[in-house]
């Protein structure tokens, strides 16, 4: 009995040691890569820190006010709305494509692969593909010539009027495959008997979609749409490589980088970062409230 107790105690000790050994590095990373920078950014966002060792002064909330008072900063919300729009269109298109591919169709593997591939392509490569595509006499102009629409040819990304649409389209092109894959996977997990029963009852395609498909995937659709809000703020590669933020295409991320690393206005950049964080936080809370049920089901 005492022996067993001793063994139990020894095990308890070993257990504790294992937990410490296994968690110490991950927890350090977690603190260092999230809490620590956020705390520091909160602090510096109230100062005019230049990123160097030089002294800084507290400036109150003026960095935050600047975001809304300065044209080039305010513009990022406007640019973000293009990507947000593209993100929502992305859900509609990919949902539609998933419905089209849901039933057995010849060559579905190849179609699926082609639609998905842009998503795993290198972001810089994609941006460059479209730099060539939008060039004068590039892919788009060629296509419009063939279709007899040469009168509508414009300077696509060099023009503030069309620039953001052109860039949002690149975002759409790259990301449709992802949500398509998710929707298709979810739809294919719906038992086929449901559809069989419905078609015996004479339900058409639209009726089947509204009665069977959509109720089963609406959580995922909501989740993906919510995530696209966060993504639309953090977009970086596409505007940076295609236009370098010119022609009114500067996003939160490109402006943040420029403010901090080009102009050394770290205090200002920190305020913008906190702003991004606040948006992400609101979205997260919203997601958790709306999709609470879903969370409880999928974890564990």
């Amino acid at each position: 009995m005492t022996n067993q107790k001793k063994l139990g105690k020894k095990r308890e000790q070993q257990k504790r040691r294992t937990i410490v050994l296994f968690l110490i590095i991950p927890l350090f990373f977690l603190l260092y890569f999230t809490i620590y920078p956020i705390a520091k950014m909160l602090f510096y966002s109230l100062t005019d820190w230049k990123g160097s060792a030089s002294p800084y002064q507290f400036v109150g909330f003026s960095n935050y006010l600047n975001i809304f008072a300065t044209e080039s900063y305010r513009n990022v919300f406007f640019t973000g709305s293009y990507y947000l729009g593209a993100g929502l269109i992305q859900q509609v298109i990919s949902l539609f494509l998933a419905v089209v591919m849901n039933k057995k169709i010849q060559g579905s593997g190849i179609f699926k692969g082609i639609i998905f591939f842009p998503f795993i392509m290198n972001g810089v490569a994609v941006a460059m593909v479209f730099r060539m595509f939008y060039q004068v006499n590039g892919g788009l102009d060629t296509l419009m010539n063939i279709m007899g629409m040469q009168d509508y040819i414009k300077i696509w990304i060099g023009n503030p009027k069309t620039c953001n649409y052109a860039l949002a389209l690149v975002y759409l092109w790259k990301n449709v495959g992802y949500s398509f894959l998710i929707y298709l996977g979810t739809m294919q997990s719906i038992p086929a008997e449901y559809y069989d029963a419905a078609s015996i009852d004479g339900a058409g395609m639209w009726a089947q979609f509204t009665a069977i498909t959509f109720p089963n995937i609406k959580m995922i659709v909501g989740l993906m749409a919510t995530l696209s809000i966060v993504n639309s703020i953090a977009i970086f590669d596409i505007p940076y490589v295609l236009t370098n933020g010119k022609n009114g295409s500067n996003t939160f991320s490109t402006t943040l980088i420029e403010t901090a690393f080009t102009y050394n206005k770290y205090g200002q950049a920190c305020a913008m970062a906190i702003c991004v964080l606040a948006i992400a936080g609101v979205v997260m809370v919203f997601k958790n409230i709306v999709f609470k049920e879903e969370n409880e089901n999928s974890y564990e």
């Binding site: 179609f111 060539m132 894959l181 970086f236 590669d237 992400a280």
Partner: protein, 283 residues
């Protein structure tokens, strides 16, 4: 009889419509890429003087590819990328499985808080924390060090964490217990018994990680500014400077950078799909 006919007709029209839609989408996806592919075989003058859909005069013109491989640092970039991927996968797999092991096998104070914390941390856009982290790394001379970026990629990400937790939960605790009865320590149970059993999860998590690292531009752009420390993204990005008037060279660069992903995708298609669908639903 008539209804059967019209039904049949309806399905075949529907089928034709489906193919029409799919072929349109395929065209939209492939068309911009074809232009790049054709351009990669054109000479500078040829590129400027022809439409993007005109076939190259000489399919044997590999000059652009030669320029890319010999002068573009692509080989260095590829080696650096592989190095980063290799170590990041090892470290992140270790850290993620260690956390998942503790979470699924032990009860301890603060467990639920840590779990929630990981959930919350996953919503912090990584682009912003680098404002501060970069300053620190620069301060201690970790910029232009491949390991600095390995550290950044090695943190526990929520998708892998949930994936591993799910796999560990599927393994009965009786497996652990019998090993412990035979004198195994917890560390050995984790290393010798559980880790080999979650191999499929490791493959899935690594595929997501590899894709992420291979495509990430921002982190490498910030932390590895030196030319000889370039990775695939930054190497390609730096083509814009010296070759900004030679789009046919850039086209070859795009093809070279995308080719490994393309080949990898063809061979590991099943795992890639699985990885991203598992990841999305959990994350």
């Amino acid at each position: 009889m008539r209804t059967v006919m019209s039904d049949k007709q309806r399905t075949s029209i529907l089928k034709a419509l489906k193919y029409l839609i799919l072929l349109t989408v395929v065209f939209i996806v492939i068309y911009p890429l074809v232009g790049v592919f054709l351009a990669s075989f054109k000479t500078k003058i040829e590129y400027l003087s022809t439409d993007s859909m005109v076939l190259p005069l000489n399919w044997g013109n590999f000059e652009n590819y030669k320029t890319v491989l010999l002068k573009g640092n692509v080989i260095t970039g590829f080696a650096n990328t592989l190095f980063i991927i290799f170590f990041s996968c090892i470290f992140s797999t270790l850290l993620c499985t260690m956390v998942a092991y503790c979470f699924t096998r032990f009860e301890f104070a603060g467990k639920n808080y840590i779990d929630k914390f990981y959930m919350m941390a996953s919503f912090v856009p990584s682009i912003i924390v680098h404002l501060i982290i970069f300053k620190d790394f620069a301060h201690v001379g970790l910029v232009n060090n491949l390991f600095s970026i390995v550290i950044l990629y090695s943190g526990v990400d929520i998708v892998s964490l949930y994936l591993f937790k799910q796999y560990f939960n599927q393994i009965s605790v009786a497996v652990d217990e019998s090993a412990i009865m035979e004198g195994c320590s917890y560390v050995r149970v984790y290393w010798n018994i559980l880790l080999p059993m979650v191999k499929p999860a490791i493959v899935t998590a690594c595929i997501i990680k590899i894709t992420y690292i291979y495509n990430d531009f921002y982190t490498a752009f910030l932390y590895l500014p030196a030319t000889e420390k370039g990775v695939m993204s930054t190497v390609l990005y730096r083509f814009i400077g010296p070759y900004s008037s030679e789009w046919s060279v850039i086209a070859a660069g795009i093809i070279v950078v995308s080719l490994p992903v393309f080949i990898g995708f063809i061979f590991a298609q099943k795992y890639v799909y699985k990885g991203f669908s598992d990841g999305a639903v959990k994350g």
